[in-house]
Structures are given as C-alpha cells and as structure tokens.
C-alpha cells in the first residue's frame, strides 16, 4: 500500500495555494540495475484534485516528473475549513487518495 501524501492548503484572500508531496518512485523505465537489467517503468500517470468534492484539476503525468513528486496549484474561492482531496493512480493501477483541510 502506498504511503500517504502530505497536503498543505493555505488560504490567502479568496485564493488557496495547495502544495502536495507524493511518495512515489517515478521510475522511468530507462534505467538499468547493477546487473544490466532494465528497471521497469513505474510512475504516477493520473492526478486529480477536488474542492469539497467538486473536481477542480485533472492531470496526466509522464515518467519525467521527479521522484517523490511535488505539485502546487491555486484553488479559487476556497476558504479555511474547506476540504481539498488529491488522488493519484500509477501505471500499475495502484492508487492513493488523501485529504487536507484548508487553513
């Protein structure tokens, strides 16, 4: 089971900046191990975010997003106490959803 994300959502005025750290290898499929065998690709392909359950952002990623990915975006109209949820799905169909409360 994948490790939890760290989500920080901070409101300033009518905008909320969301910063997400995800725990993931983001293996490109182009590297070789010490025995010369190709390490299979393993990376987050889809990311989505909701604000109080309403979808606000949808992303597709390739393997060139850095290991333990970081994502920052700004939600309009979110206020303290609102809920921001983020979901990722990788190419092995492993998935993870975490939620943070806007502060």
């Amino acid at each position: 089971m994948a490790d939890p994300m760290r989500i920080r959502a901070q409101a300033a005025g009518d905008k909320t900046t969301v910063r997400v750290l995800m725990s993931h290898e983001m293996e490109t499929g182009q590297r070789k191990d010490s025995a010369g065998k190709t390490i299979p690709a393993w990376f987050i392909r889809e990311v989505s975010a909701t604000h109080n359950g309403k979808p606000v952002l949808q992303a597709q990623w390739g393997p060139s997003i850095a290991k333990n990915p970081f994502l920052q975006f700004v939600v309009k109209g979110a206020k303290a106490g609102d809920k921001i949820a983020v979901t990722w799905i990788d190419n092995k169909d492993d998935k993870r959803t975490d939620e943070a409360v806007v502060s």
């Binding site: 939890p4 760290r6 750290l21 850095a66 333990n68």
Partner: protein, 265 residues
C-alpha cells in the same frame, strides 16, 4: 619584471572568473531556494512519527518510552544534544545507534541484525524515518552537546583524530575537504567542520533528502558515503568511528541552529 606581468595577467583573469562564478553561484542559490518549499523529507518525517507511536516487535511496544537523553519519551530537544553518553548502554551514542538500542530494549528487536541490514532496506528505512522525525522536533534549536562525562570528552578526542586520519589510495581524510573555510568540490560548498560552520550547515543539516537519488539520508549514511568517497573501507553502522566523528562535529557545531531535516543536492 616578468613576475609582475604574470601577476597582472592572473589578476585580470581572476576578475573575469569571479564574475562568471558569481552568476553560476547565484543560479545555484536560486535553484536551492525553489526547492525549499516542499521538501520530500516531510514524507519521511510523517512515517517516522507513525513508527514512533506504533506497537511493534516481539514485545509489541511503541518507542514512546525511548530515552534519547531528555528522559523517556521526550523527543523535542534531543537531536541537538546527540551524541551523548547513556548509562544504560555504557556508551556514547548518536541518534541512530540510540534508536537501535531503544528498538532492542523496548520492542525486543535484534539490534545486531538491524546494524547488519544495508541502508535503504527493511528496518534501516525505519531508522532513517525515525531519525527524520526526531530531528524535525528540534528544528530551530541550537546544538549543545554535553561534554560533562569522561566518555563524551574521550569520544570528542578520538573523533578529532579520526577526522584528520589520512589513508587509502587517495590519501584523503575528512579534513582534506572539510578542514578550512570557503572551499568547494565541483559546485558544492564544503563546510569547515573543525568549528561551528554556521546555522543549518554541515552537522546541523542532516538528516537530509538527497535530490540526486531521491533518498532520505541520516548522518550514519552521510558518513558512510563520505568514507566511500574517501576510498576508505566500509565503516560499520553505529561503529565507534562514526559516533566519535559525530561527537567531534556536533560539539564543534555548538550554537548552530538545526534546520534538519533539510534538502540537499
């Protein structure tokens, strides 16, 4: 006469270089600044906190009674006073070797087995996460290692000797790179570890998330990889040389503010 000309040319060259160098240094500083917000070390800190509170091992106990030198269960402030002498083990211990002792004493886990485990595997991953959690609880505090016990003073003295010990195919010691101010390897600044190198520098910056390989490194792995690049043989996990070096650097860093866990190249 000829000498003067050569110096003149050198001075001219240096001016040009200083300019080029400044922009590279500025670029790197900008890069590092951009990475500060959103340090993946946070992920390991969260894992460590959970491990600290989780009942594990043959004794099905958490580490919440672990004494890191500030009394059982006290995490805040412990990091900036380690390594120190512990009466229950009769040894000076650094954070990571102390965590192993707690896992042995409280949880009944096999410390020798953990010490033998390669970095990045099994319980070693847990030690790194725990060390990240413990370090984070002292963020912003100043280093102040105790030197009251004879063993603590002895650890400092033999640590200093290890720091200057030259050997291997390249004649390197720790001091080859970390003995004076203001030098770098490639573009990396090398802190002078024979004194307090400043807030959040050197000993006050590890555990750190390594950008280059996406790994979280504690001081044990930091020292291990220093010895690798020194072309030395392999230092045992928690071996006396690693603890003594940590004592030497930690005492020297007195007054430096801890920023651990940090993010590094």
């Amino acid at each position: 006469m000829q000498k003067t000309t050569a110096v003149g040319v050198a001075a001219l060259l240096l001016c040009g270089l200083a300019q080029a160098q400044k922009s590279t240094a500025e670029g790197i500083a900008e890069y590092r600044k951009m990475l500060e917000d959103g340090n993946p070390a946070d992920l390991f800190e969260a894992q460590g906190e959970e491990l600290w509170k989780k009942k594990r091992g043959p004794k099905n106990a958490s580490l919440e009674r672990c004494d890191l030198g500030q009394g059982p269960g006290v995490v805040k402030g412990a990091f900036v006073t380690l390594p120190r002498y512990f009466a229950d083990t009769g040894k000076v211990q650094d954070l990571e070797s102390r965590l192993v002792s707690c896992m042995e004493m409280l949880q009944g886990l096999d410390g020798a087995e953990i010490a033998k485990t390669p970095f990045g595997r099994g319980e070693q991953n847990n030690i790194t996460a725990l060390a990240t959690y413990v370090a984070a609880a002292s963020r912003g505090l100043k280093f102040n290692l105790p030197q009251g016990h004879a063993e603590e003073r002895r650890s400092y003295e033999i640590g200093k000797r290890a720091f200057y010990f030259r050997g291997g195919s390249h004649d390197f010691s720790c001091a080859s790179c970390h003995g004076v101010d203001g030098q770098r390897v490639r573009l990396q600044d090398l802190p002078n570890l024979t004194k307090n190198p400043g807030d959040g520098v050197g000993f006050a910056a590890w555990p750190a998330y390594r950008v280059s390989n996406g790994q979280m490194w504690g001081m044990q792995l930091r020292l291990n990889d220093c010895f690798r690049q020194q072309r030395f043989p392999y230092p045992g996990f928690g071996s006396e040389v690693t603890v003594a070096l940590a004592t030497y650097m930690g005492v020297n860093a007195k007054g430096a503010e801890s920023i651990a866990p940090s993010i590094k190249r």
